[in-house]
């Protein structure tokens, strides 16, 4: 276990985490208008409450002290209280997290599998028809605005053909379908929509990675030993090529969550994305900032874990 690398990476994400927190603090500070109103709402609240909030936020103190107060609060899990929903922000986020997690997981799996399969297929005969067609498909897929793709899929499959539900995560009335089937049919279109962009990028990456691996010197060595083309492709090249895919998917997590917000809106999927949009419309700043921090930090941590996973997979880093 390469502890040096582990330590180095941990040291590297601390500034990122701090940076995100400071950034959110600054965004609140720089907003036009009195900061207080972000936390008590614009409609008048009683002056006593307002004074309380001012004191709690430390608005009578220097900016630096406010920052420290803020950091202290966030790091202990206190993200404030949503005045619109009258509950602690942390709890609200916790309750609504699961649908987004489900959607993200299924989309990542779908996109990764789809992308790897086609990418490898394209790499079996580079610059041939199958390769060019695959790459054009990828190009089309990541040029599509994903919300539009979602809308079109709904129109075709739900509105016109009626075989899939229009929106939401579950039906009100189950009817003759099982619980699982119901959930799956609701999950299908959002997954395809969100996962196809990832699939397109993974496709291109895997193909390029395979072609690069196939051009390496050790492939010539393998050939000189008399190995068959198939064995060379799958034993020697593939392992080298797929290694960086793990990290690559980690890199795209932020963009995927970005897409998830929009997809949740299109499909009425009751996750954190939809929550964010509601919060924005209500001007519920504690919730907005809370969501911002939670989402950003989640991606940071997951990327970090993926990095560590990669060091375990790549022998060149694992043993040095």
């Amino acid at each position: 276990m390469n502890y040096n690398y582990l330590a180095k990476r941990t040291l590297q994400i601390i500034p990122v985490v701090l940076g995100i927190l400071v950034m959110s603090f600054l965004m609140i500070q720089l907003a036009p208008g009195d900061v207080v109103f972000m936390f008590i709402g614009e409609s008048g609240a009683d002056p006593e409450f307002e004074a309380q909030i001012r004191k709690r936020l430390g608005l009578d103190k220097s900016v630096l002290e406010q920052l420290i107060l803020y950091l202290k609060g966030v790091l202990t899990g206190d993200l404030g209280k949503s005045f619109v929903m009258n509950e602690s922000v942390s709890k609200i986020i916790w309750d609504r997290a699961l649908p987004t997690i489900i959607l993200m997981s299924s989309s990542i799996i779908f996109g990764a599998v789809f992308g790897i399969l086609i990418g490898v297929y394209a790499a079996t005969k580079p610059y041939s028809l199958r390769d060019n067609v695959s790459m054009v498909i990828a190009l089309f897929l990541y040029s599509l605005p994903n919300f539009w793709l979602g809308q079109m899929l709904i129109i075709v499959f739900s509105v016109n053909w009626g075989i899939l539900p229009v929106s939401g995560m579950e039906s009100m009335i189950l009817g003759d379908k099982s619980f699982l089937m119901d959930r799956l049919t609701h999950l299908l279109l959002p997954t395809i929509t969100l996962g196809s962009t990832l699939g397109a990028f993974v496709m291109r990456f895997v193909r390029a990675s395979m072609i690069e691996a196939l051009g390496q010197d050790y492939i010539l060595t393998a050939k000189s030993k008399g190995l068959s083309d198939g064995k060379i492709f799958f034993k020697h090249a593939l392992k080298n090529a797929l290694l960086p895919v793990v990290t690559y998917i980690g890199l795209r997590l932020g963009y995927m969550l970005s897409g998830a917000v929009v997809i949740e809106s299109v499909f009425g999927w009751p996750g954190l994305g939809l929550l964010m949009l509601d919060a924005l419309f209500e001007r519920d700043y504690p919730l907005i900032m809370g969501l911002f921090i939670v989402i950003s930090l989640s991606v940071t941590i997951i990327t970090f874990i993926i990095d560590i996973l990669y060091t375990y997979l790549d022998p060149r880093i694992r043993l040095k």
Binding site: Q12, P15, V16, G19, I20, M23, M27, I28, L30, A31, P32, Y127, L139, F140, Y142, S143, L144, P145, F147, W148, Q151, M152, I154, I155, V159, V166, L251, L253, G254, Y255, M256, L257, S258, G259, A260, V261, V262, S265, V266, M276, L277, L280, F281, R283, I288, M289, L291, F292, I295, S296, V299, T300, T303
Partner: protein, 285 residues
């Protein structure tokens, strides 16, 4: 005078190679069509923008309304043309500003290394983990959703990628002997970075610009789609937002603005691919 002639020659050579790349040419053509349509929108449009009641609501495509009308009777064809303006303008300005900033910061960080570089890397890493739409939404919510802010927001989202790319290139070019030779000749740091090194990254920067603009358009459309764009202007994303309620009545309200976004983004990606093939040819030995 000679310099201008030299540049024209360079361009001719470039065009000769680029012409052969079908993908790039197709992309360029589509892009040019949209640019022309956008610039001359008032000429091509049949109705001024945002004219409600130009016709009855939910009309099918007809001679009078080439692409039909929406729920408020607006002519989709004209709306589409004016929407092209916003799409292209916003993304273009955002790309230019983000590229200038990105190249500058990336080159400095790559060349000097040390603290400056670490700082830049941590900042760009932040932008990598924060989902772009989230940041855009928060910024727009705080500072308001007008066209200037949106351009600024998209620029903020786009520069990190450019700076990372440039930084990586400068890092490797810095080790080339000709850079060391330039140092040995006594050239100033500024001259070395911007006269010797950055020009050698131009091809990467240009390809990146095309792809960045594609992304910028997708972000802008998404923002408008979610209702956080500038509502005083016609935008394709906004049109799709509007269409969300009316799937059953009219699918073309969804289809046409979306196809517009798709085609412009596609053309930029195709053009970028074509450029990439010209600059970094994959030689089939």
């Amino acid at each position: 005078m000679i310099k201008i002639l030299k540049n024209i020659n360079k361009f001719k050579n470039f065009w000769k190679i680029f012409k052969q790349n079908k993908i790039g040419v197709v992309g360029l053509i589509i892009l040019l069509i949209f640019i022309v349509l956008a610039i001359f929108a008032p000429l091509f449009a049949t109705f001024p923008p945002l004219t409600t009641g130009a016709g009855e609501a939910f009309l099918n495509p007809s001679f009078k309304h080439l692409l039909g009308t929406d729920n408020l009777g607006r002519d989709l064809y004209s709306e589409l043309l004016y929407g092209a303006r916003i799409t292209l303008l916003v993304s273009f300005i955002a790309v230019i500003t983000s590229t200038v900033v990105g190249v500058f910061l990336g080159a400095i960080a790559g060349y000097y290394g040390g603290i400056v570089d670490s700082l830049l890397m941590r900042i760009t890493e932040m932008f990598l983990v924060i989902p772009p739409i989230f940041l855009a939404l928060v910024l727009v919510a705080i500072f308001g959703a007008n066209i200037i802010n949106i351009i600024i927001v998209i620029s903020i989202l786009s520069w990190p990628q450019t700076s990372r790319l440039v930084r990586a290139e400068i890092l490797s070019l810095k080790e080339r002997p000709y850079c060391k030779a330039a140092i040995a000749s006594g050239a100033s740091d500024f001259k070395i970075i911007f006269s010797e090194l950055v020009p050698n990254t131009m091809t990467t920067i240009i390809v990146n610009m095309s792809l960045t603009q594609a992304t910028a358009i997708l972000i802008e459309s998404a923002l408008s789609f979610l209702g956080f764009g500038d509502s005083s202007m016609v935008s394709w994303g906004l049109m799709l937002n509007n269409a969300q309620e009316f799937f059953r009545q009219s699918w073309y309200m969804v289809f046409f603005p979306g196809i517009g976004i798709f085609l412009v983004v596609l053309s930029l990606n195709l053009f970028g691919e074509g450029l990439n093939d010209v600059f970094n040819p994959r030689r089939k030995k």
